[in-house]
């Protein structure tokens, strides 16, 4: 790891060096060995001092571990920082690290110098050809992905005049993902358990060709390739294969993080409600996909998790939810909905969470016209509320 480096030499040193040079001339004139020694001694000290400041930290390596640890709120964890010094010895430097406020240091007297960061500083000494590991314990406090934003060294000169400041040039790869905390969501059981049983199998037009359930008598509308020839021979009557009727029982959750030009104030509660839904879906083995209108650089221009279920999917969902922060750039929600209905696999159930405008209603109407059932996740005081969303189709265009 290379460092951004600034050296701050004591401003009086050049001045004293100037006097030392004058002293050399004086010493030659008055023929004094002591004066010459004094002047040369100081000049060499000044030179060594400058050389140290220039070279200090040059071969100080930081092991940038690519580690991602996951925590629930209240869990305890540690940052690991490993340094190896192959250059000049570092004596009583000050090591400062800055990390996000999602995790907080265990000590009570922490400082938050920048509004969203914790700053910690320790004394640090490392001799040549030595390595040191520093562990910084922390407690997960808040949903989010915490990173060490910056590592800074203030290395004082060994000879005492000035200091060199080293700042980490690259991102520290260590991450601490703090999962969101679920809040109770009313209506989640009622909406999902009832509807699930009614709709899935009988209504579907799709059949699982690998799951035959039996045969029935042939009717003229059946296609020839559906005829079960062996069964027909056995019964001496034409028989048609019957397959298991399957329907996609997937859900899609779309979260609107924006509120006009800013991020919605209910962000945390909405995310917590979605977390509750995610846990519920995990227990009931319900597949679901997730869209959040936070801009990304991928081919899908917003945060999107394709449909899935199970433990891995739950982890992905929780991590995605943890990654949403108020500092994200949002994408227009309508744009996301339009992209969803055009390019992504549409799910039969659609949950909308967040603010909805008239344009959003129109887009949602479009989605419901394609066969999806709409639900809305609202926040009522400290709870989430999942209810069916009814949008009346108006004859006139909404202006």
């Amino acid at each position: 790891m290379s460092w951004k480096k600034y050296s701050v030499e004591d401003r009086k040193i050049p001045g004293i060096s100037g006097f030392a040079i004058i002293l050399i001339i004086v010493s030659l004139y008055i023929q004094s060995k002591l004066v010459l020694f004094l002047a040369v001694f100081f000049l060499i000290v000044a030179f060594c001092n400058q050389h140290y400041l220039k070279r200090a930290g040059e071969k100080l390596y930081f092991e940038n571990l690519n580690v991602k640890n996951h925590f629930f709120i209240g869990d305890k964890g540690e940052w690991f920082l490993t340094f190896r010094n192959e250059g000049f010895p570092i004596l009583k430097a000050e090591l400062k690290i800055y990390f996000d406020y999602f995790v907080s240091p265990n000590e009570e007297q922490q400082e938050t110098s920048l509004s969203s960061m914790y700053e910690m500083s320790f004394p640090f000494s490392l001799f040549t050809n030595q390595a040191k590991q520093i562990k910084i314990p922390f407690t997960a406090k808040q949903r989010g992905i915490a990173r060490i934003r910056s590592i800074e060294f203030r290395v004082p000169s060994l000879l005492g005049f000035g200091e060199t400041i080293l700042e980490s040039k690259y991102f520290v790869k260590q991450q601490a993902v703090v999962y969101p905390l679920p809040i109770p969501v009313k209506g989640i059981k009622e909406q999902i358990s009832v509807l699930q049983g009614i709709h899935v199998v009988p209504v579907s037009v799709y059949e699982d060709l690998l799951g035959p359930v039996g045969t029935r008598d042939y009717v003229p509308s059946d296609s020839f390739n559906r005829i079960h020839w062996k069964a027909s021979a056995r019964k001496q009557e034409l028989q048609t294969k019957v397959y298991e009727r399957i329907a996609e029982k997937g859900w899609n959750i779309a979260l609107n993080v924006s509120d006009g030009h800013s991020i919605t104030g209910n962000l945390e509660k909405l995310i917590s409600s979605i977390t509750e839904f995610a846990y519920y879906a995990f227990h009931k083995q319900i597949p679901y996909s997730l869209c959040i209108n936070v801009r990304t650089a991928a081919s899908t221009p917003f945060l999107y998790l394709p449909i899935g279920e199970g433990k891995e999917h739950l982890q992905k969902v929780l991590e995605t939810l943890a990654s949403v922060s108020t500092q994200n750039t949002s994408l227009p929600y309508d744009y996301m909905l339009s992209f969803y209905s055009r390019h992504l696999t549409a799910q039969p159930y659609f949950i909308h969470a967040g603010i909805k405008t008239d344009d959003t209603k129109r887009m949602l109407l479009g989605i419901s016209k394609k066969g999806a059932k709409l639900f809305e996740l609202k926040i009522e005081q400290e709870f989430g509320l999942l209810s069916e969303m009814v949008i009346h189709q108006e004859r006139r265009m909404l202006l």
Binding site: L38, I44, V45, C48, Y98
Partner: protein, 405 residues
């Protein structure tokens, strides 16, 4: 304990500075200043005083007057120190002790070192001039100051670490030993260095003389042409008069050299101070970079940027640009947030609305100026310049008038 050590360390540095100053006074008397007595008295009493302060807090101050101050006076009296001197010393130790004890934060020793070097340099030159017999003691004091600063800085850091203490100590001692060894070499080679330096100087003198000789020859030739042949030198080498006393020529050179050296030293100090002040401005910007917060433009930066700005290509805009420059020379410049009209109104220029319209068209619209418009602007700006001069003069007069009041 650490606090007592820190106070003593700082006080010793200040004491050495004071002693150098004392030397400066005693050079004139050609005596050795009572520094041994001072050292013993001051160091022992500051250690005792800081102990008292550490142990009894505020009461330590009163205890000082009861215990240490009488002791100082007594020892001073025994060793022949005048009473006022003893009292002065006592109060000095009291003052320094309290102020150093209250604020033990790391102070920069470099400033003390710088002051020591300034006083030391003057004292060395002065002592060499007046052939002071205790010059070497003075230089040793300066060397001690330097060594104490180096050692103190290291020990303070070294004391705070737990592991690898021996390694760091050995490393530091090695560095210091190497520096000392390198420092000793030129001291032994003083004669040779001197020889080389004077040979170089000699060479330059010869070079200068060979270069200037033809010039002087030419001058002489010119003088001869002007009819000065008849004039002869009045100095006769063999006048037959008895040898009169003439002050040795080298003494004059010596004094001039000393004066030159002192002037150079003073000039250097002034230069340093100026540099320091200009650097401080810069360091404000620099420190902003260091302390992570970004995006703050210091005032100095924007000034630099403005200064380096190129004049615009368009003729009318360039004219206005020149006018702004001219006005800023007369201290009537346009402020960065002012529109042209506001500026003119503020300083009292009578500009026509037509010219403002032309400027705005060129500056903010994408239109180009016609030759007619250019001539209008040029004549108007010419008038403006004259108006500016008048405004400037009247302002100056006003200031002059207001001053005596």
């Amino acid at each position: 304990m650490n606090r007592v050590a820190a106070v003593t360390y700082q006080f010793i540095l200040e004491l050495i500075l004071g002693m150098l100053f004392l030397f400066l006074i005693y050079i004139n008397k050609n005596e050795f200043p009572p520094i041994l007595l001072l050292t013993v008295l001051c160091i022992s009493s500051i250690i005792l005083f800081s102990f008292l302060l550490a142990k009894f807090r505020n009461n330590g101050k009163w205890l000082y007057f009861v215990t240490i101050l009488p002791l100082i006076l007594l020892i001073g009296f025994q060793t022949g120190l005048p009473l006022y001197g003893g009292l002065g010393l006592g109060f000095l130790i009291y003052w320094r002790g309290i102020s150093l004890f209250d604020d033990v934060s790391e102070r920069s020793e470099a400033i003390l070192l710088l002051l020591s070097f300034i006083i030391g340099l003057v004292a060395i030159i002065y002592s060499a001039m007046s052939k002071y017999p205790f010059q070497s003691e003075m230089i040793l004091l300066l060397i001690t100051q330097l060594v104490i600063v180096l050692l103190g800085g290291f020990l303070r850091k070294w004391n705070s670490i737990q592991t690898d203490k021996a390694k760091f100590a050995v490393y530091f001692l090695k560095v210091i030993a190497a520096v000392l060894a390198i420092g000793v070499i030129p001291a032994f080679l003083l004669k040779y260095i001197q020889m080389i330096l004077f040979a170089i100087l000699h060479f330059f003198v010869i070079l200068l003389s060979t270069v200037s000789a033809p010039l002087f020859g030419f001058l002489e030739y010119l003088l001869r042409l002007n009819g000065n042949e008849g004039r002869k030198t009045t100095i006769n080498a063999d006048t037959g008069l008895p040898d009169e006393y003439q002050p040795p020529a080298y003494e004059k050179t010596e004094t001039t050299l000393y004066i030159l050296l002192i002037v150079a030293a003073v000039a250097f100090i002034i230069f340093l101070y100026k540099k320091k002040f200009t650097k401080q401005d810069f360091s404000v910007v620099n420190s902003a970079v260091v302390s992570v917060s970004e995006g703050a433009y210091g005032s100095t930066q924007s000034n630099l940027f403005r200064r380096r700005m190129k004049p615009p290509e368009d003729i009318i805009r360039r004219e206005i640009f020149e006018l702004e420059k001219y006005a800023s020379k007369l201290k009537l410049g346009r402020l960065p947030f002012e529109t042209l009209e506001e500026w003119w109104q503020r300083i009292g220029l009578s500009g026509s609305s037509e010219s403002i319209a032309i400027y705005e068209k060129v500056r903010y619209g994408e239109g180009r100026s016609s030759i007619e418009e250019q001539t209008i602007m040029k004549t108007e700006i010419h008038q403006f310049k004259q108006q500016l001069k008048e405004i400037y003069k009247s302002l100056k007069d006003k200031k002059k008038k207001s001053k005596p009041n």
